[in-house]
Amino acid sequence: MGLLSDPSISTQSKLVDGLARHVRKVCLVLYVAGVVWFFCLALPEFNHGTYLSENALSPGLVYPEIRVDANRLAIQLLEELHRERTNHVSTTPHAWIAAKMNEFGLETHTHNYTLRYPFGGGKEYHGKNVYGILRAPRIASTEGIVFTAPYRAASSVHTDISPSVPLLLAFADFARRKNYWAKDLIFLVTEQEQLGMQAWLEAYHDGDRVPDANRTYLRPGNLPARAGSLQAALNIEVQDLEIDYVDVRIEGLNGKLPNLDMFNLVQRIMAREGIASGYKQAPRKKRRHSQSVYEQNLRGMLSMLASQASGVPTGNHGLFHRYRIDALTIAAARRQTHATLKGNPGSAAVPLLKAIEGISRSLNNLLERFHQSFFFYVIVNNDRYISIGDYMPALVALVACAFVKAYLKWATLPSASEMEAAAAAASAAGSESELPSPGEAEPDEPFDLPYGSVLIYLVATLAIGYLCNVLPLQQYFLEIPMGAAPLTTSVLSFLSLIGFILPFVVVLPPGGLELLHVAFLLIYGCAMIAIGLLNFALGFFVAVLTVPLVISLETSEENTKSSFRNSIRLLTLILNPMMIVYVIVLAMTFYQFPELPMQKIMLRAATAAMDASAYGLIDSVIYGNFLYFVVSTVLLPLWILCWTLALSKRRDYADYLDFDEAPSPQPPAPPAQRQAKLKRN
């Protein structure tokens, strides 16, 4: 209790003295340790082989029963669908899908939803999902599993994945004739990419919500039928019935992942059916064999973290995770026809159908929700993973710097006597004649740290961040005839500008900067840990970028070269969240269009960054992606604080003396010496 407030520990203790002497080194060591630990994780000694924790899954316990006739049905349905697609170029053939589901004996329903697009004058888009429920004989509709296939219209710019619907239907027809189902199976065909999925899930879980015309952008409506609590979901995206390999996609919204058991289950079953499958599986010819195992592992890790960091799901499965439904996507790539590699088209999809059957039967065996194994992990390789207990120390070591420094700052906060000493020094430097005699002083008057003004300053910066979040969606802004991207960007840059100017306008009273520094370090540390727990990738990358700045940031004026201070100021400016977004987009543009001249790339990156911020906002209001929130409401205020500290604008002590009736300076030698010692470090 008295740990933080007890003056006997704070200033006089040896710990603080020692820490003050070595704080830079300690922080540096911690930072390096964190980063090195992270790189070590790619070594086989630091990660583990995957295993199935949930015994109920027992993959491959049953022999697959699905036969070539299901494949024949899939081919026939695909032909029918292709005929339908000529008539429905930009829409989904709902009627055909619903009729097929009905014919196979599923309880078929449609689900309508409406999207009110926040920008561009509130245009409305309508969508429709079709789903059929196979009512399981062994249960009273209390649990269900979802099989989804996104449908892309023929006019879509994305890769054609229309064969997933026939595959889904062929499996549904097979499953309907079995009596072992202990969970209702829902076969769902969504449209408009992730929007349909999101609407369906919202309708399933929040179907009774009364839409608020101003606040809700996606009106999901209600579902006519449900199947109890959903246990798992499998999203199928197949480019062709003849497949080359299967890419298992797991990253969900905000970097959430399905249970590792589910990924392992898919891997096991795919391996049994002889399908090349894996996480971020690439076609065979592209695989490089020259890399060492370590390099491969590191690449795997980094690519997974990179795709997690943005928080955008890699497929429709990602939206399930928020409802605690474990889901992943099986994305099968089309086989390139080789003269030497000729498959039999009549049975091409049988392995995949068998795999889907095996996965669904294993999921059907589940007695409990997925709860064993890991929900937080990083996949190093298809059969190796890093658990949360192993990767968190890296982040903790990085963030620990902030806390160590915060403690030191708190312990060495200028007390009354020091402040007076500093003031005395300042006034002495100004003119010795004005030195007030000790007799006139009031030594009992306590010196208070300016808690109030620092708190107000913090609130102001947070308010700026909050405005970033809500301002672009206000009605009066939306009515401005401006595109989504310029509008969002202009609001964001305006608010950043306010943040930039803020420290020039508002100057904190003496002691305020130090207090602000402590507050900044604490908020920064807590924010990094919180972000890292929710989305490790995002937290870790942000921490790796910003911790050096946080370490080197100092508020004191003495003993620091101005060049050092200026370089820190420059670094702070560069690390502005909007700058970082721009730099990332610039790098990606450069990587994608290396042939363009630099100017064009920069221009293009600027528009792309503007688009990115608008998409981030839309993602956050429709899907609940928190990346935009993190950047605007957490990182931007932190940056403003950082900028304030880097500038270190102080009121002159002379002003302060005039202003505050001049507290008497007592020149106590020991504190001054200690302070000087502190500043040296």
Partner: protein
């Protein structure tokens, strides 16, 4: 028939119906005030006349008359399903209560239960699967998934605690009889419904009480079927019960075993009673699971074997096959000897009747089989025609995400064009906290898929709040549902974090919330197949036109994920560590915050006796005082000296311990 025994039966019937009418008029008009046409108090004479015109009671019933009937109803349903309904009815006019000691066809356990308890009516249902109202229409006997049980008690000087005791014992008896987990029925999952359940026993005008419980988690299997069959007079040796082989019964989409006992006594004369035991088995087969090339089926295919005859003890043994609606497309082999047309509430149903007594008239061993054949020209393409929706359908689902709170939503859809009175009963277990102030009934037109802010007022509300680990929440709502409208009843709930030993071994499976019951009165008889309350055989439902039909429906049960700790090694470690910390906190806190002052022993007791006394009364213990040490010295000296003079007569003996806190000390100092 009535002439033979003029007194009991006609009177009985009349009074039974009176009782039912009294009940209905008490409850439902309140709801149906807006729709007087549906209630429109019928003249009590209608029922006896219709009852008289039909062979409601097969043959005369004398005292100690005991009859057994077996019936099988086969109804093809839409979506390639077939409903087979077995009903075994034993009706025993036993007269005096003492006669219950001498049972013949009625199982002894039933007679003993009636002897021992004041139970007048008992329903037990053991069900696997869910009846799909949308595609299958209404069942002949309603049941919820899992186990369900309710009983009416009536007797002299019956108190509520006595009813609770008897209810618990009754559940335990039938837990043994049916090998079901009915012994888990206790106060934490039983309610006494106020409005929804209607008595069917007689005389029902006395003070009576009802208890209801459901166990949605119960899984029904062979172990329940075998003891259930043993209650039958012929067992499973012969008769229709021989068709019920567990291998085939449990491969159905829905199977429900039912047991219903009721007492019909004369109003004033307690020793003129009938006991009626009805055992039902309701099965729904899915023809697609047979993997056939066409939709043909037969008894043999459904049950694995043909019928080997009738139960020799049975008064009648008949098979009814529905011939219209979905049954229209089938031709029967062998051709039925008899057809019955039943018009009920303006709805025509045609049944082909096979009388097994006729069929097995001649001696000789053979198996009887009925085959349903579709015409050869009909192709394999299944019937895609959607069935007409029954007038009222119900659903229930859980809304919200996360393990902290959610909303239970019950949806009632009225597909009829007229407004209907609806009664909904919810039983929310204690581990889910329901908040009554969040109860909302919203409405929408049937075709629209989004609920708006249009409320529906409720006409009747009965709520018994739950109590943690003791009582479930019990809610009954009555309202009028306009035609072609859906109503969504939502109530917000909080999920409770259980104590760590209260979680079942499969903690992550979730906990069950039982099905809601919905009751209504239909003005017409479409899809309505239940027996009239005064009848006891399936054939009594033929032509049983009434002014309205009381319909009772069950929704789905729900699974909720309560906040579940990670029951793995770290969790155990956390539990252990927290316990240790909690144990250590108390002493450490008291040591850290109190100043312990060791007071000198005031005056040593002189003799041995006083020493002992002193020990007993703890008079010479260490004085613990939360006081500043310096202050304590002076005060203590004072206290010891003058026997607490400063404080008046508070202290009598010099060696009285001084247990005071700081404030008292300060007061003393100020003194």
């Amino acid at each position: 028939m009535c002439q033979l025994r003029p007194r009991p039966l006609c009177q009985r019937l009349g009074s039974l119906l009176m009782a039912l009418q009294v009940f209905l008029m008490a409850v439902l008009p309140a709801i149906a005030a807006a729709t007087p046409a549906t209630v429109g108090a019928p003249p009590p004479t209608t029922a006896p006349t219709t009852g008289g015109s039909r062979p409601n009671f097969s043959g005369p019933l004398g005292r100690s008359d005991e009859r057994f009937h077996e019936e099988l109803v086969v109804r093809p349903l839409s979506g390639d399903h077939v409903n087979t309904y077995f009903q075994f009815t034993t009706r025993w006019h036993f007269g005096k209560k003492d006669n219950l000691y001498h049972t013949q066809l009625t199982p002894r356990v039933i007679a003993e239960v009636l002897q021992q308890f004041d139970v007048k009516e008992l329903h037990i249902g053991l069900t696997q699967g869910l009846w799909r109202y949308e595609t299958w229409g209404y069942p002949i006997v309603e049941a919820t998934s899992g186990a369900e049980m309710w009983a009416w008690f009536s007797g002299d000087n019956l108190t509520a605690t006595e009813v609770d005791r008897q209810w618990g014992q009754l559940a335990n008896v039938f837990s043994g009889v049916l090998c079901a987990s009915l012994n888990f029925v206790d106060k934490t999952n039983s309610i006494s419904p106020r409005h929804l359940l209607r008595p069917q026993f007689m005389p029902a005008n006395r003070p009576r009480s009802v208890r209801y419980a459901s166990l949605p988690r119960e899984i029904v299997c062979t172990e329940n079927l075998t003891p259930w069959k043993k209650l039958l007079p012929c067992g499973s040796a012969s008769g229709f019960a021989s068709l019920l082989n567990s291998g085939h019964v449990h491969n159905t989409k829905y199977h429900s075993l039912g047991l219903k006992v009721r007492m019909l006594c004369e109003d004033h004369l307690e020793d003129n009673c009938i006991v009626e035991l009805t055992q039902t088995a309701n099965l729904v087969y899915d023809l697609r699971l047979f993997e056939l090339s066409n939709n043909d089926f037969s008894l043999r295919r459904l049950f694995g074997m043909g019928l080997n005859g009738f139960c020799e003890l049975a008064e009648s043994s008949k098979i009814y096959v529905q011939r219209n609606e979905q049954g229209q497309k089938y031709s029967l082999v062998p051709q039925p000897t008899q057809e019955v047309k039943s018009i009920r509430g303006g709805h025509l149903v045609v049944y082909a009747v096979y009388d097994m007594l006729e069929q097995f008239k001649d001696p000789g061993e053979r198996l009887f089989n009925i085959a349903w054949l579709t015409p050869k020209n009909e192709n394999r393409r299944r019937n895609l025609m959607k069935p007409t929706l029954p007038p009222v359908t119900v659903h229930r689902y859980l809304l919200g995400n996360g393990q902290e709170r959610g909303r239970i939503a019950t949806e009632v859809t009225n597909n009829h064009y007229e407004a209907l009175p609806i009664l909904v009963q919810e039983l929310v277990p204690w581990y889910v906290h329901a908040y009554l102030h969040t109860l909302k009934i919203r409405r929408k037109p049937q075709r629209v898929n989004e609920y708006t802010r249009r409320w529906l007022p409720f006409k009747l509300l009965h709520y018994t709040p739950g109590k943690q680990r003791e009582l479930p929440s019990h809610l009954e709502i009555g309202f009028t549902l306009p035609g072609q409208t859906s109503a969504l009843i939502t109530i917000d709930v909080d999920y409770l974090l259980l104590k760590w030993l209260e979680y079942p071994p499969d903690a992550n499976h979730g906990h069950y919330i039982g099905a809601a019951m919905v009751s209504t009165q239909l003005p017409m008889g479409r899809n309505y197949t239940a027996l009239p309350p005064e009848g006891h055989l399936f054939e009594h439902s033929f032509n049983a036109t009434r002014p309205n039909y009381v319909l009772s429906l069950h929704t789905e049960a729900l699974i909720v994920s309560l906040p579940t700790p990670d029951f793995s090694m770290p969790y155990n470690v956390i539990c252990l560590a927290c316990t240790v910390v909690a144990l250590a906190f108390g002493p450490i806190h008291s040591v850290a915050t109190k100043v312990i002052v060791v007071g000198r022993q005031a005056s040593a007791p002189k003799n041995f006796v006083r020493k002992i006394l002193g020990k007993i009364f703890r008079r010479n213990t260490v004085q613990v005082r939360a006081a500043a040490a310096a202050a304590a010295g002076a005060a203590q000296a004072e206290a010891l000296r003058g026997g607490g003079g400063g404080r008046g007569g508070g202290r009598t003996a010099a060696d009285q311990p001084i247990l005071e806190d700081l404030r008292e000390e300060e007061e003393q100092e100020q003194d």
